[in-house]
Assembly symmetry: C2
Homo-oligomer: 202 residues x 2
């Protein structure tokens, strides 16, 4: 019993270290040694607990994104659905920015690991597509190309994060927000996207 608890603890330490390092240096750019050093455990424990580096990657998503976007939308009110989807995605992004970062990398380079993880993101995009279609059909959204519009919205959703890269450029005039975050960011995002879709709604 005590062993189990110790094991869980080590597994979690490895997962947390891997989450940070994968997001920061990419999957290939991260070594098992770095993960174990960061986690403060011995090199062998990645293989022992997960069966190899690649399984740490998969375990990351099973651990931190287990119930990601299971919500189903009935499309009766596409505007409300879209707002809900944006809110749900933004909350997850704010809670697990490293995971979004990592996912974005993998998506962008069409990594072979993506196959076992793509259902997470496919589900989201299919729902987004359905919402956009329904909204256009009902005259709530205006756009020309569904395909490109999905790209626009996904781009808006994914790229919005605490980017330590953009910040040196952007923080000269605006102070760092401390606690406004979360709900405000969500509000900004909803506003930008709905406007982008010419959605005539408060």
């Amino acid at each position: 019993m005590k062993n189990d608890i110790q094991g869980k603890d080590v597994k979690l330490k490895i997962l947390n270290a891997a989450k940070t390092l994968f997001a920061q240096k990419g999957y290939e750019g991260t070594t098992v040694r770095q993960i174990c050093d960061e986690a403060g455990v011995a090199l062998a424990l990645v293989s022992y607990h997960f069966g190899g580096k690649e399984n740490v990657f998969y375990a990351l998503f099973e651990t931190y994104a287990p119930s990601f976007l299971q919500k189903a939308y009935d499309l009766a009110d596409p505007v409300a659905d879209l707002q809900s989807l944006i809110r749900e995605f933004a909350r997850f992004r704010l809670a697990e920015p490293e995971l979004i970062n990592l996912l974005q990398q993998e998506v962008m380079m069409q990594s072979p690991r993506l196959e076992k993880v793509q259902h997470i993101v496919y589900a989201l995009w299919l729902q987004l597509r359905a919402i956009l279609e329904a909204g256009k059909r009902q005259g709530r959204f205006e756009y020309e190309s569904l395909r490109h519009t999905v790209h626009f919205v996904v781009g808006t959703l994914i790229f919005t994060r605490n980017s330590p890269f953009l910040d040196p450029v952007l923080q000269s005039k605006e102070d760092l927000p401390v606690k406004e975050e979360q709900e405000d960011v969500i509000r900004y995002t909803i506003s930008y996207i709905l406007n982008g879709l010419k959605c005539n709604t408060p």
Copy 2:
């Protein structure tokens, strides 16, 4: 003289191979052997011509993005400026999607290589920021947070590309555009972004 020409040819073959592979598998995920195989040249030639893998990376940007976004905007007409910036960026993205992909990866993971390349993207974002500020001051754009709005626009611009990943999801109803592309995509992008900024303009 003939040697020079041959050298140039090999250098270009290496650069083209590296551009594709880096974009597809990331910098760390790509090996010098893969690059040389893809280019059809011997392994040693990367070191001979470029002095190592890392310098191939830098040469990529010096070769394919030499005059990227040198245009300066006077901010007299922020709407026109923004349209111009979007158009310029979109054209580059359509011409060199791999480079944008690679740049996005590096930006996302804050890679150590970014330092020598970031001026390319800093320039763009500073100009974008200035345009957004000027546009708000002149009552042409509406948004709450400058910082987040820059993120939104950059996300829209960067993520929009021929994503081989999203396509299987998105192509069921819409046929693959063949020649409409280019100017139409630019039109869609401008429309989405200007609407996102509540810009009241045709």
